[in-house]
């Protein structure tokens, strides 16, 4: 962990390896099945979510305990989100949406701890999640509607000349969805953590410069505290935004005809 370098917090390093798969004779190529710090926090995230939800509801209390209530509130929150934006039919995607939200939220919250890596600050993760969402949308949309799914690109009640302009725009906007979905989450988590680290780095650098430095460090320190609060907000908000957009896209798959 390099002190004030704002990028090193995103380093992925191997904790241990399960060996390399598909390497050639010289050991080059192939892909190393490494258990990295990122993997660790994915496992911790899943462990925490599943552990909490399962253990807190173990009593199946008719009158919920405080811990159980948190699980129930989360459940109701996501269920209402899915129901209100994708309708009752969208509820078949409820476990998927719930997993997405809790995974992003909890991994982002883990990322708020110093020295913990933020899983979603790596583009490959957010791209994978966004593509997963779009794959589900497209596969389900085609399965359910067949060619009717293409109505997604043809808003109803629009005259033909306008359609010639609107349809390409709709196609473009659909294609840009995975892009915006993944880049939004990635960019927010990355930029937020970098800014946080930069300001924290100022504090470290300035305090090493003697008494004046310490006085000068008050301002960046205040900024760090404020930004930490902001980052908590952003972490939760981005999880929410990712999830609600997923619901909206799923709604398109269920009701493509606008």
């Amino acid at each position: 962990m390099a002190g004030t370098d704002p990028i090193s917090q995103f380093n992925i390093y191997e904790l241990f390896s399960f060996g390399t798969i598909g390497a050639d004779a010289e050991g080059a190529g192939g892909f190393e099945l490494a258990f990295t710090n990122s993997s660790l926090f994915m496992v911790l995230t899943v462990g925490l979510i599943a552990g909490y939800l399962i253990l807190s509801t173990r009593g199946r209390g008719l009158v919920p305990s405080r811990l159980q209530l948190v699980s129930e509130i989360t459940y109701e929150f996501i269920a209402n989100m899915v129901r209100s934006s994708a309708g009752n039919e969208g509820m078949k995607f409820f476990p998927f949406v719930f997993s997405l939200f809790t995974f992003i939220l909890i991994s982002n919250m883990f990322g708020m701890f110093p020295y913990f890596i933020t899983v979603a600050s790596h583009l490959i993760i957010t791209v994978a999640l966004a593509l997963l969402v779009m794959t589900v949308v497209i596969v389900y949309g085609v399965m359910r509607n067949g060619f009717g799914f293409l109505k997604l690109f043809v808003p109803s009640g629009i005259p033909l000349p306008v359609l010639i302009i609107v349809v390409p725009i709709e196609v473009l906007s659909f294609l840009s969805r995975p892009l915006s979905l993944s880049l939004r989450l990635f960019g927010n988590m990355l930029a937020g953590h970098i800014v946080l680290k930069v300001f924290a780095g100022f504090v470290v650098t300035l305090t090493s410069m003697g008494a004046f430095g310490i006085i000068g460090a008050v301002l960046p320190f205040g900024m760090t505290v404020a930004l930490t609060g902001l980052e908590f907000l952003v972490s939760a908000l981005q999880a929410f935004v990712f999830t609600i957009l997923t619901c909206v896209y799923l709604n398109d798959a269920i009701h493509p005809g606008h």
Binding site: D5, L33, V46, F94, A128
Partner: protein, 253 residues
């Protein structure tokens, strides 16, 4: 993307001071390389255009193979970089764009997210859903039960009131009956008594009448006797018979 570019520059500066910063070494390597190749030496520092970051990434990616890193560092000013970029698995690329970690990340994401999905959809969510449903059913059941009991209570109150009204009517009827029978009784007795009295009055009256008649009859006798006495005193003798007839005529007259 411009953030990344500028951060690069900053990192570059900040990092110079510390040794053992694996990433730092790589940056220097990357920069050394660009120094050699062309005037693009500022790419990793001040470039702010969209292309800046990607170009950056490309240049840095070149450094991923160990050979080139070493080669570059031999050209560079810093000799420590060659070793530091080897001991940790870190190719010096901006970490989120380091494609060598993509495989492992995707693998673990698939594994963990898949596990999470399974755990959620098979265990946690059905359980919470069941808890909520049981509670909703229970509340609805309780409400229905309360409603049923309320209806029952209402019914009981209604029947109680009906019975009360009936009882009241009955008691009234009984009272009425009693009053009527008493009245009838009293009336009958009064009638009896009155009849009795009337009879007695009648008897008494008849007796009075008789007595009166008797008395009146006696009055004639007395009058006759008196007349006889008077006449005999005044004139001498008079027969009682004559006196009587004379009285009778007077009385009738």
């Amino acid at each position: 993307m411009s953030i990344i570019g500028s951060i690069y520059g900053q990192a570059d500066l900040a990092v110079q001071q510390q040794d053992g910063a694996t990433w730092a070494g790589a940056i220097v390597v990357a920069q050394a390389e660009t120094d050699i190749s062309s005037e693009e030496s500022t790419v990793s520092g001040s470039e702010t255009s969209q292309g800046g970051a990607s170009e950056d990434a490309v240049i840095v990616l070149e450094g991923t193979s160990g050979e080139e890193v070493l080669g570059a560092s031999s050209h560079g000013e810093e000799t420590t970089t060659g070793t530091s970029s080897h001991d940790v698995k870190d190719s010096g690329v901006f970490p989120p764009f380091d494609s060598s970690t993509f495989g492992a990340q995707l693998f673990w994401l698939a594994l963990t997210f898949g596990a999470l999905y399974l755990l959620m959809s098979k265990i946690a969510l059905p359980r919470i859903g069941e808890i909520l449903e049981v509670r909703r059913d229970r509340i609805e059941g309780d409400l229905a039960e309360a409603e049923r009991l309320r209806k029952k209570t209402d019914q009981a109150i209604a029947s109680y009131e009906a019975e009360l009204a009936e009882a009241r009517a009955k008691s009234q009827a009984i009272a009425e009956d009693t009053r009527a029978s008493l009245k009838a009784d009293v009336d009958a007795k009064r009638a009896e008594v009155e009849a009795d009295l009337t009879k007695k009055v009648a008897v008494a009256e008849s007796r009075i009448q008789k007595t009166k008649a008797d008395a009146l009859a006696n009055v004639d006798d007395i009058a006759a006797d008196t007349a006889v006495a008077l006449v005999s005193k005044l004139t001498g003798k008079i027969s009682v018979k004559a006196a009587r007839s004379a009285v009778a005529t007077v009385v009738k007259g």
